[in-house]
């Protein structure tokens, strides 16, 4: 077999097409492929109805080649089917590096795929590059809840990396760009016992989705109870944004878990994040590393959140926030 070559990105599907992480993988993958002097390719695992659209979409991201595995069992995200298909695609594509998203799907898929192939994976990377000296993939990933970072080397071939969403610049689409298509005939007959999805319940708050919001108003332990979240909702509505919360506020039952922002909650990439009564534990900061401007309102001037903030207010939220809301409303009416 020839030496492994190139960078392969695993295309992720959303309910409507290609998930946004795919453009971020293509952006990071293109730079890595350039450093290696090799090609960027992509893997699409799907049913025959959806794959043409996905192939076109990923083609616009500037990949050279798309490996396509089509099978009825790949219609939804049944992880065992996707694992088996990707294992076969990777064996045929023979890449040096495989990139996935550390998304809800990718965080389960990545480690299992790497282990199945006896390879290593760098999880939740915020930077990737090529270590010329060791001739291996190197990655930087937050550790200890984000209190520090680790530079790691993935010494296997292929080397796997799962990229943190919103940590890499998405590559812009090029209209009319297409990729060479390589069909991979996959066999999914030897899949063992699987976990089946039997029910799904939605608990999404009304309004703008937290992940998509340009402005997020977020509350923590300092709010002292569920009641203050009403003002936060009012403020978010006035700003056209969404409401989030720290894990402490969710664990206390003040708001449901879909509000949680942080290492084990959602990662957001808002332009403006207003943290109210949030101390700024590193685990929380991990979820807002993609935020452009953080505003901290906290009565404790020593709180860690001020070290991350662009603007800070030391004061009692119950006085600062209503006045701030009033000012926002007046500005809007002018």
């Amino acid at each position: 077999m020839a030496d492994p070559q190139g960078v392969l990105i695993v295309v992720e599907r959303s309910d409507t097409g290609m998930a946004p992480i795919t453009a971020e993988l293509a952006g990071a993958g293109a730079q890595l492929a350039k450093a290696l002097g090799q090609d960027l390719s992509a893997a699409v695992c799907s049913d025959s109805a959806s794959s043409p659209g996905l192939v076109q979409a990923v083609g616009r991201l500037g990949v050279k080649r798309v490996f396509v595995a089509e099978h009825a069992a790949l219609a939804g995200f049944q992880i065992e089917a996707h694992l088996a298909a990707l294992e076969q695609v990777i064996k045929q594509a023979n890449p040096r590096v495989v990139l996935l998203g550390k998304t809800v799907q990718g965080r389960d898929l990545g480690p299992r795929l790497a282990f199945r192939l006896g390879c290593g994976l760098a999880q939740d990377c915020v930077e990737i590059g090529w270590d010329q000296g060791r001739n291996t993939l190197q990655a930087v990933r937050p550790v200890y809840g984000g209190a520090s970072q680790a530079r790691v080397l993935v010494v296997t071939s292929p080397a796997f990396a799962a990229l943190r969403p919103k940590a890499f610049e998405p590559v812009p689409e090029t209209a009319g760009a297409t990729a060479e298509v390589v069909k991979v005939a996959v066999s999914l007959d030897s899949i063992g016992p699987v976990a089946k999805l039997v029910n799904r319940t939605k608990q999404e708050a009304a309004g703008v989705r937290l992940e998509d919001a340009r402005t997020v108003v977020s509350g923590g332990r300092g709010l002292g109870g569920p009641e203050p979240f009403k003002v936060l909702h009012e403020l978010a509505t006035a700003l056209g944004g969404a409401v989030g919360a720290s894990r402490a506020a969710c664990d206390a039952g003040w708001v449901p878990y879909p509000y949680q922002i942080g290492l084990t909650g959602k990662s957001i990439g808002a332009d403006l994040y207003i943290a109210i009564g949030i101390s700024g534990a590193s685990q929380h900061l991990a979820g807002i590393s993609g935020v452009k401007n953080i505003v901290a309102i906290n009565k404790d001037g020593e709180a860690n959140i001020f070290k991350e903030a662009r603007y800070g207010v030391v004061g009692d939220w119950s006085k600062v926030v209503p006045a701030f809301l009033q000012a926002v409303k007046e500005m809007a009416s002018r």
Binding site: A114, G145, L153, K196, V198, Q203, P258, T264
Partner: protein, 265 residues
């Protein structure tokens, strides 16, 4: 139906340690706390212990805890016994190289195979030190069993495990045949506190100690796939601009003006 459960647990530095007290160790490979701050059991692993004990309370069975690590502090690592677990197996080889996720999963898989009888493996969703969330998934691969991650509720009935898992916008219910592996998240609820009776019972129990040699693993299975080159605290460049005012209300107004000037609202 009584359930035979294995829980994996990791001893970690206390994540509640203030950032100012944490430092990178002399080798630059991990973080360390001051000597007077004892380690703890990874929080999500305590959630996994709680999930196991709820199943045992409801329908009987046995809970065996397995931990791979170095420099175990017995008072810390025995906590699952005082919470009500039946057995603790420690795999400690202070001369062994530091394991990556792949090697750790290999050791755990070999230990679970040595235990022999089991229906369900419960793991914390990730460890609070390296935050990888890789070992449980790798373990499921090595054991060749179905895997459901990030559970907030676990039930066992008729040879099946039913798992309510946390989804970004709600919950999903998954079903898998036993044997299976499930990772547990904090949404399951607070782990129980050890009772005095539990602590007394645990003090009389000794953990089973295994060495790597007892598990028959070879060097290539334990060779690192991922090497930690360096752990570092990233430099911070942000300088906060504090918004003043004669009172808190005025600060609120001044903040709005500032954000308007910066075209952020």
């Amino acid at each position: 139906m009584p359930v035979n459960i294995i829980v994996t647990a990791k001893q970690v530095i206390d994540p509640e340690t203030p950032a100012s007290a944490l430092k990178v160790d002399a080798q630059g490979k991990r973080m360390e706390t001051p000597p007077n701050v004892p380690p703890v059991i990874n929080g999500f692993d305590e959630n996994a212990v709680e999930a196991a004990l709820r199943l045992k309370d409801a329908q009987g069975g046995k809970v065996t805890v397995i931990s791979v690590g170095k420099s175990f502090v017995l008072d810390v690592i025995k906590k699952p016994l005082s919470m009500g677990c039946d057995e603790l197996i420690l795999i400690q080889d202070d001369n062994a190289p530091t394991f990556d996720a792949y090697a750790t999963a290999q050791v755990l898989a070999a230990a679970i195979k040595k235990v022999g009888q089991w229906d369900l493996v419960l793991c914390g969703r990730q460890a609070s030190d390296f935050d990888q969330a890789q070992v449980p998934l790798g373990l499921a691969e090595l054991l060749k069993v179905p895997c459901v991650t990030i559970a907030q509720k676990v039930e066992v009935k008729n040879g099946q495990v039913t798992v309510q898992r946390v989804a970004p916008d709600g919950a999903e219910v998954m079903e898998a045949p036993l044997p299976a592996l499930v990772t547990i998240s904090n949404e399951l609820g607070q782990p129980r506190y050890p009772t005095l009776r539990g602590i007394m019972a645990a003090s009389r129990k000794q953990p089973t100690q295994w060495k790597l040699a007892d598990l028959g693993l070879n060097a290539s299975e334990l060779a690192p796939r991922v090497e930690v080159a360096q752990v570092f605290i990233p430099a911070k460049q942000k300088v906060v601009e504090m918004i003043g005012g004669d009172n808190d209300e005025e600060k609120g107004w001044n903040l709005a003006r500032k954000l308007r000037e910066a075209k952020l609202i």
